[in-house]
């Protein structure tokens, strides 16, 4: 068995959601295991060199390897980026309530924060329609041009 064969077996395993494969012959033994959710019925094979088709995924419930990566953030989320350099404020004044919180719906004209530059308080508009999913800067922290301020799930 050479590398090409091993690659073919791995491909077949992937295609058919098989997580474990073991082959033992007179002069060698090979065991292939995919992912950490390895438990469950591993397809068993005899000496026949041809790899038989694995059982359909529904017959091997635990063997289906779940995606290993952490949940990938929904890629259609927008970022509201800072158009200027200054200090980021969540509310119009220290006593007032914040302009937006997570979960709040915004439209393009909604003021989401203030960026103070050279003693001028600049109201920053969302310029997006959707729901705030994350506030990325702490109150009263400095921000630079292009720095992400909020994440918005567009509606």
């Amino acid at each position: 068995m050479d590398l090409k064969d091993i690659k073919a077996i791995i491909d077949l395993m992937k295609k058919n959601s098989v997580t474990e494969f073991e082959l033992e012959k007179q002069d060698f033994k090979i065991r292939l295991k995919r992912g950490t959710n390895g438990g469950g019925a591993a397809a068993s094979y005899d000496d026949a060199p041809a790899v038989t088709a694995a059982q359909p995924p529904s017959a091997i419930p635990a063997a289906v390897a779940a995606p290993q990566a952490p949940v990938v953030p929904v890629s259609n989320e927008l970022e509201i980026k800072s158009p200027m350099i200054g200090t980021f404020y969540r509310a119009p004044s220290p006593e007032a309530a914040a302009y937006v919180e997570v979960g709040v719906e915004v439209n393009p004209e909604t003021v989401v924060c203030i960026i103070e530059a050279m003693k001028v308080m600049n109201e920053i508009k969302a310029e997006a329609k959707g729901v705030i999913t994350q506030i990325m800067v702490e109150n009263a922290k400095p921000v630079e041009f292009g720095q992400p301020l909020f994440k918005v799930r567009p509606s």
Binding site: M84, I85, G86, T87, A117, M118, P142, V143, E144, F145, G146, Q147
Partner: protein
């Protein structure tokens, strides 16, 4: 003592300023456009703030953003470098009103020298010779024609707000004068936001000789000798040397002293403070004429540093902190000889077309008497949004001969691949017999290229 300085510039000069700050134990803030995120000055500074997208007009020239960056990082002073906002009087004023020290001349000097026409008038009042020309801005083509008639052709039409060799047109007769007058005004409006032009006698094949000056806030002004910057291509300096071989000519021995005194007279008339450069042109008879004052640190400052042993950028910072000058005129000695070659990312074989892109391999020369001021490194991508200068190679020797030998050696060692550079062009200059003799004028490059073009044509034929 300044604790923190914001460097309002990019590229090699930003690296230069950061180095001077570090040596003084002053913390640094870099500002950068999105195109400069991987630039060396950003990596060397203690803090870095992104101030906009690539175009200079959306970043390095945005006074509001530069000052905002200075405020949120709480700096004591801003060093403007050269170009960009370095000679912008309004920017200097905004800094002062925000309680941030501007490292450069004070606002009085800025307005006394606010444009070239005003500076010309100031020089005349200080009894310093200026090229014959108009008294201030020329308001109409009729006036331009009158001035040209009075002083005689050829003449130069120059933008009063011009700089870096831009905004100039030569005219040899009435027709080219009228054409040049309107073109120059249009160009000036677009490039500098100021269409004002003046007319000056075009002195043919001069030497461009400039004097470095330093002034403190107690009215003391000294000069640190001259730099010869005659080697120019389309009014852009290519190579500079200190001292000027022209002034070392026994025929013109007295010129250095006379011109130095004239430079100081002009600086005093303008109440100049911090670093500056007084530019003159010298004709073949040794007659000198005042051109303008550059109210900033200049690209070619290193050659003066090598020959005088004085750190000019450090001096700028000290003077801005209110320190007095530590040198009197008699303390200034010009020892040895220094040459600077500007290394541009341009293709000298394709009419100097700019060659931005990724530097693959980078090896810079070294050894005794070799200095490289650059922001380039292997893997660095030269952005297309800014000028093409990627570094300066400076050599210093006991005399001109040794400085030239070292420059030849150093240019041969310099390896940059991935982009085209003017290194081979500089080598051609260094090997030119007239350059080696020290006999050249501002027409040198044209003559050199003319000869090269002829050779190329002959080869092709």
């Amino acid at each position: 003592m300044f604790e923190k300085i914001l460097v309002a510039n990019r590229g090699e000069i930003a690296v230069r300023i950061i180095r001077a700050c570090k040596e003084l134990n002053i913390r640094t803030v870099a500002i950068y456009s999105e195109a400069d995120a991987n630039s060396m000055h950003v990596q060397l500074a203690d803090e870095a703030i992104c101030i906009g997208t690539a175009p200079a007009g959306d970043s390095y020239l945005r006074i509001d953003r530069v000052v905002s960056a200075a405020e949120i990082t709480d700096v004591d002073a801003i060093h403007p470098g050269y170009g960009f906002l370095a000679e912008n009087a309004h920017f200097a004023d905004v800094c002062e009103s925000c309680n941030i020290r501007f490292i450069g001349p004070n606002s009085r000097a800025m307005s006394a020298l606010e444009d070239k026409a005003v500076s010309r008038a100031l020089a005349k009042r200080a009894d310093v010779p200026t090229p014959p020309g108009s008294d201030g801005v020329v308001e109409s083509e009729q006036e331009a024609l009158q001035v040209a008639k009075r002083i005689g052709y050829p003449v130069m039409i120059k933008a009063i707000a011009g700089g870096g060799g831009r905004g100039m047109r030569a005219a040899h007769n009435d027709i080219s004068l009228v054409k040049g007058y309107h073109t120059a005004r249009g160009e000036a409006e677009k490039a500098f936001g100021n269409s004002g032009v003046y007319v000056e006698k075009f002195i043919e094949n001069p030497h461009h000789v400039e004097f470095q000056i330093l002034g403190d806030n107690r009215g003391h002004i000294i000069h640190l000798g001259e730099r010869d910057c005659s080697i120019q291509r389309r009014n852009q300096k290519v190579l500079e040397e200190c001292p000027s071989p022209l002034l070392d000519n026994p025929k013109f021995r007295k010129l250095r002293e006379k011109m130095g005194k004239a430079a100081i007279k002009i600086a005093e008339a303008a109440n100049y403070t911090n670093a500056g450069t007084v530019e003159f042109i010298v004709d073949t008879q040794g007659r000198y004429y005042f051109l303008e004052v550059n109210k900033r640190i200049q690209v070619e400052h290193p050659i003066t540093e090598e020959v005088t042993g004085i750190d000019l950028v450090r001096y700028q910072i000290m003077l801005a902190m209110g320190e007095p000058l530590r040198h009197s005129q008699s303390d200034i000695q010009l020892k040895g000889h220094a040459i600077e070659c500007r290394i541009n990312a341009e293709d000298p074989f394709d009419d100097f077309r700019p060659s931005p892109g990724r530097i693959e391999m980078y090896y810079q020369p070294g050894g005794r008497g070799v200095r490289v001021d650059t922001h380039a490194y292997a893997g660095y991508t030269i952005p297309s949004a800014y000028d093409s200068m990627i570094g300066k190679l400076i050599t210093y020797g006991r005399d001109r001969r040794e400085a030239m030998d070292k420059m030849n050696r150093a240019l041969g060692e310099y390896m940059i691949t991935g982009v085209k550079t003017t290194i081979s062009f500089q080598q051609a200059i260094l090997q030119d017999p007239n350059f080696r003799r020290g006999v050249y004028s501002t027409a040198f490059i044209e003559q050199l290229l003319g000869g090269a073009r002829r050779e190329l044509m002959e080869e092709k034929a």
